[in-house]
């Protein structure tokens, strides 16, 4: 099972190392980890997607909470949340195929960022399933390069 957790952490050197060290030392299986700034200048927010059963998820949450540099942990297990990943894909696209690829991009509401003689670069934001769907359709053209930013998440509503 995949779970999404967010952690507000001190925005200072060594914090990311301590958290990634925790994951490697405890052999937690991390699918995705992102860090970025928040509305508070000295607080960073990490979004972590971890694979494991409930017991592992519970340990991850507790271990994160235990670190003095972690200010707050949000476990999205029992609440509605929004999550998004962002990806850039460079696909082979000869002139003859551009039309098809633009069509796929439109279906997924992706942006075309760059076009060269034989490639196109597409930007796509969405849930993981959406990104994976797009990748499936683009793969036959030949993916030259792909990068994903990792998942970010936030709870719905006023919270």
């Amino acid at each position: 099972m995949k779970h999404t957790i967010a952690a507000m952490v001190e925005n200072k050197p060594g914090v990311l190392a301590r958290i990634s060290g925790l994951f490697s030392a405890r052999a937690f299986n991390i699918m995705s980890l992102t860090v970025g700034e928040t509305e508070v200048s000295d607080v960073s927010r990490m979004t972590i997607v971890v694979k494991g059963d409930d017991k592992i998820l519970e340990q991850v949450g507790k271990q994160l909470n235990k670190l003095p540099d972690v200010i707050k942990v949000i476990d999205f297990k029992n609440e509605e949340f929004i999550d998004r990943d962002l990806m850039l894909v460079k696909v082979n696209a000869s002139k003859a195929l551009r039309g098809e690829i633009i069509e796929i991009a439109n279906i997924f509401r992706a942006n075309i960022l760059d076009v060269s003689a034989d490639t196109m670069t597409i930007e796509l934001t969405g849930r993981e399933t959406k990104l994976e769907g797009a990748i499936r359709l683009l793969r036959p053209y030949g993916i030259k390069e792909m990068v994903r930013a990792g998942v970010v998440a936030m709870s719905r509503g006023r919270k």
């Binding site: 001190e10 060594g14 301590r18 030392a25 507790k62 235990k66 003095p68 540099d69 200010i71 707050k72």
Partner: protein
């Protein structure tokens, strides 16, 4: 008035009540040692190895309950602390290490004696800091001590570049030490405590299982009152020894791999486990799926990550053992009828009687006998520190402790070389106690240089080496589980023709200007112990004990704790 960074560090140590630091200087901490030169309140113990300094700070902390402090220079000095930090962290010992770092502008340059100290020590510290501004020292030190001793205690390292030790600023005597991401819960949830107590009172076969949390929170008295009030059997982990009187008949011994048959029987047959400050370590549970099959589990621990980590707790209480036990005692005061555990205790007593801890009492000088004699002659009043190996287990089995902080041992990490420096630190903390280092011949050689520290500072400990000329614990495993194929365990001569052994520990003791003794016969043990107790300086005692004695009972690694091999 402006002070130099080094002076501020010392001011902070004074503020925290530190009277002793253990360490070795080097290029990057000369400013700090320079400041120590004029300091009247803090005594420096110059050790002979930084690992020794760390273990001394640790032994000091475990014996006193205060926070131990060690100091090392950058690079090799700092890396030499790593084993000591890991040892302390795993046993939840409050300790602060201050290390020098190369000057700020060279950090990250592979400068002379530069190591990424905060990087290297991150996994072996509860928290660590690289100070980049002299104005941060006071606050950082305050946070370091707060973190080290609060919640689940642990290690904190502060790395200070040498230019920052020399830079000046105003000293802030009362910085804010609060940390917004750190709020250990102390008292526990009152409703949950009530639920937990009610569950305990509904049991027919209760086993109280207490560990190091009882010692570090100072809850021995509360635990003792609680257990006596309920008249329930109690087992203590290696780290919990002394948390309940070892001579009380409610105490049924340590559980697990080298535990008593009675304690393991109790786990396998109880209907309720009350875990207090104990973390269901694999050395205790054996095969987890077969552990305590009939029991509900109530677990009290200050560290939420220790709860339900290995064994799922039915009723968890996150809180300080002392505070939670106090609240339970108050609730218990209002309860008329508590369960009657008499017949349950009788069941356990049958096992105890049938399988007591014992050793062959023949003409041979056996290691257990030596410990037994120490126990009898000191009337159980000594502070015992151990190295790691068979002798460590025998010390636990044959010396009984009625009080906390009297049995000090590296339980979690199992660090050979802990005993001698640990004993020196403990003696510094408790100068009026008789301190005995129950040691192995292998372990002693891992930090033997600290005999010089003991000599120079007039620290008296008894180094009782149970010399079996083997890395005995490993030899035992090879004998029992690897068809007696002894590989890399013989410390004496490799030639089967002679029985020579080096070093001669008696001469080693003498070489350090101390007393050295060799004891070869059982009949000489009492007189030797009395002589050592009467001597005013450290004594190195080389007890030439039976070479292939085994620690029993033993539960093979990975087996269920009722699959016990005992003395035949």
């Amino acid at each position: 008035m402006k002070l130099r960074g080094a002076e501020i560090i010392l001011k902070c140590l004074e503020r925290e009540g530190v009277d002793t630091v253990f360490g070795i200087p080097g290029g990057s901490v000369i400013p700090l040692f320079d400041a120590l030169h004029d300091n009247k309140k803090i005594k420096l113990f110059l050790t002979r190895h930084e690992q020794g300094a760390a273990h001394m700070a640790d032994g000091y902390a475990r014996a006193s309950g205060k926070t131990g402090v060690c100091i090392a220079t950058s690079g090799p000095g700092a890396t030499n602390l790593v084993t000591g930090l890991a040892t302390a962290l795993l046993d939840s010992v409050p300790m602060v290490a201050v290390t020098g770092q190369v000057v700020s502008h060279l950090v990250g340059n592979d400068a002379f004696q530069e190591a990424d100290t905060t990087g290297i020590t991150r996994p072996v510290t509860k928290q660590n800091y690289l100070v980049t501004d002299v104005r941060d020292i006071s606050k950082t030190m305050a946070q370091a001590f707060y973190l080290a001793r609060s919640g689940r205690p642990g290690t904190v390292l502060i790395d200070v570049p040498s230019d920052i030790q020399k830079a000046e600023c105003e000293y802030d005597p009362k910085p804010d030490s609060s940390i917004r991401g750190y709020k250990p819960s102390k008292d526990g949830n009152p409703r949950q405590i009530k639920t937990a107590l009610n569950a305990l009172l509904s049991s027919k076969k209760l086993l109280v299982y207490a560990g190091g949390g009882v010692i570090s929170s100072g809850a021995a008295k509360e635990l003792t009152d609680f257990v006596r009030k309920l008249n329930a059997p109690v087992t203590l982990t290696l780290m919990g020894i002394g948390g309940f009187p070892g001579t009380d008949e409610l105490f049924i011994g340590m559980p697990g791999m080298h535990g008593t048959q009675a304690a393991n029987y109790a786990f396998q047959n109880c209907d309720m486990v009350f875990a207090v400050g104990a973390r269901f370590d694999d050395r205790v549970t054996g095969k987890v799926s077969a552990f305590a099959p009939h029991a509900k589990i109530v677990q009290v621990d200050i560290d939420p990550t220790s709860i339900s980590k290995n064994v799922t707790a039915d009723i968890p209480v996150v809180g300080d053992c002392k505070s939670v036990l106090r609240q339970m005692l108050i609730l218990l005061g209002g309860i008329q009828k508590t369960p009657d555990y008499t017949s349950w205790r009788k069941d356990i007593a049958v096992v105890s009687k049938k399988h007591p801890l014992c050793y062959k009492d023949d003409a041979v000088l056996r290691p257990q006998y030596v410990i037994d004699r120490f126990y009898q002659i000191t009337k159980g009043k000594a502070l015992v520190v151990t190295e790691v190996g068979q002798h460590q287990m025998w010390a636990e089995q044959f010396y009984k402790f009625d009080n906390p902080r009297r049995f000090i041992t590296s339980g979690g990490l199992g660090t050979m070389g802990y005993g001698l420096p640990g004993a020196i630190g403990a003696k510094r903390a408790c100068p009026d106690m008789e301190v005995i280092d129950i040691a192995g011949d292998g372990s002693t050689q891992m930090n033997i240089q600290e005999l010089a520290t003991a000599k120079v500072y007039g620290i008296k400990v008894i180094v009782a080496i149970l010399n079996n000329s083997y890395l005995g614990m490993v030899r035992q495993w090879q004998e029992l589980f690897y068809k007696k194929r002894y590989s890399g365990v013989l410390l004496g001569s490799q030639s089967s023709k002679d029985q020579k052994y080096w070093p001669d520990f008696k001469l080693v003791g003498e070489a350090y200007g101390l007393k050295g003794m060799r004891i070869e016969h059982k009949k000489d043990v009492d007189a030797a112990i009395k002589e050592a107790l009467a001597f005013k300086e450290t004594v190195v005692m080389d007890f030439q004990v039976a070479k292939e004695e085994n620690v029993f009972p033993i539960v093979p690694g990975g087996a269920s704790i009722d699959q016990i091999i005992d003395m035949s």
